[in-house]
């Protein structure tokens, strides 16, 4: 009962904040509503017995990634409402996008309600997870079955660091020429 109530409250907050992300004029408000969306999603992860992922969601997504977003918005001084949004190059784009979005919701809902989830059940029931510990199980999987993707992920992050530095740094050679 309490679980359903929490799901309803958090689901409504998530959807309301997601709508605010899309329809706020000011990018900084969008970013802050996105943080709230991620935090309420973390609560839903706890309801689904994924405590480790919930903690990572708050730390990595709501912490690191969104700080990066807000940092860039403030660095580029975009916090004033963008005048370009008012200029409509394609007048039919907004209404048709919203109609298509509604169609997408209806289709996903219909498919989800019609389909019966089936498949071979694994061994990790919530009782076993709470007995051993969610973090320990994630760590065990990560370093046994998924050790190769884990290493590739580290290389991916390394490449992303180098790419970000090269893309965002000032071109010193051009500056000297000018």
């Amino acid at each position: 009962m309490l679980e359903s109530l929490l799901f309803l409250i958090m689901g409504l907050i998530t959807i309301a904040c997601a709508l605010c992300v899309v329809f706020q004029k000011n990018p900084i408000y969008s970013a802050i509503f996105l943080i709230q969306t991620m935090v309420s999603l973390a609560v839903l992860y706890v309801l689904l017995h994924a405590q480790f992922i919930a903690a990572i969601q708050v730390m990595v997504y709501a912490g690191a990634i969104m700080v990066l977003f807000i940092f860039v918005i403030m660095l580029l001084n975009l916090s004033k409402a963008d005048e370009g949004e008012a200029r409509d190059n394609l007048f039919f784009q907004k209404p048709s996008a919203i109609i298509l979005g509604f169609i997408l919701v209806v289709m996903i809902g219909a498919v989800t309600l019609k389909t019966v989830l089936q498949g071979t059940k694994g061994e990790y029931t919530p009782e076993i997870i709470s007995q051993i510990g969610n973090t320990q199980l994630v760590g065990k999987m990560l370093f046994t079955k998924y050790v190769f993707p884990f290493e590739i992920a580290s290389i991916l992050l390394f490449v992303a660091i180098i790419g970000a530095i090269i893309l965002a740094k000032k071109r010193i050679v051009e500056d000297e020429k000018v």
């Binding site: 799901f7 998530t14 959807i15 997601a18 709508l19 992300v21 899309v22 990018p27 996105l34 969306t37 999603l41 839903l44 992860y45 309801l47 689904l48 480790f52 992922i53 990572i56 969601q57 990595v60 990634i65 977003f69 918005i73 580029l76 975009l78 963008d82 370009g84 949004e85 784009q93 996008a97 919203i98 298509l100 979005g101 509604f102 997408l104 919701v105 996903i108 809902g109 989800t112 309600l113 071979t120 059940k121 694994g122 061994e123 990790y124 919530p126 994630v138 999987m141 990560l142 993707p149 992920a153 991916l156 992050l157 490449v159 992303a160 790419g163 970000a164 530095i165 893309l167 965002a168």
Partner: protein, 100 residues
């Protein structure tokens, strides 16, 4: 116990909101945030399936999606900064040339 279908429907609604956001906004950073919203909705679907099937693999996938999202955010924001330095705008209508 809530039926897990509700979580999937919530995930679908979030994904649609993100897709609509990508279509109707003009600010590159807001479009980027809508992409993050879509990634998050997929994460919710993965965790729901992992709970339904009593398996940990879904949670590991979410872990990797978060890694990719972090890499994507770093590179994407660097690209936006580079564009802003060249064009002094992040409006996607004004960014239509690969090279000038």
């Amino acid at each position: 116990m809530i039926p897990l279908t509700w979580y999937l429907i919530l995930s679908g609604v979030l994904f649609s909101i993100g897709a609509v956001g990508v279509l109707i906004r003009r600010n590159a950073i807001v479009i980027f945030m809508c992409i993050e919203l879509m990634l998050n909705s997929v994460n919710l679907a993965f965790i729901t399936f992992s709970r339904q099937l009593n398996s940990m693999d879904g949670q590991i996938f979410v872990f990797f999606i978060m890694t990719v999202a972090a890499a994507e955010a770093a590179v994407g924001l660097a690209i936006i900064i580079a564009i802003y330095r060249n064009k002094a705008t992040v409006n996607v209508d004004d960014i239509n040339l690969m090279k000038w």
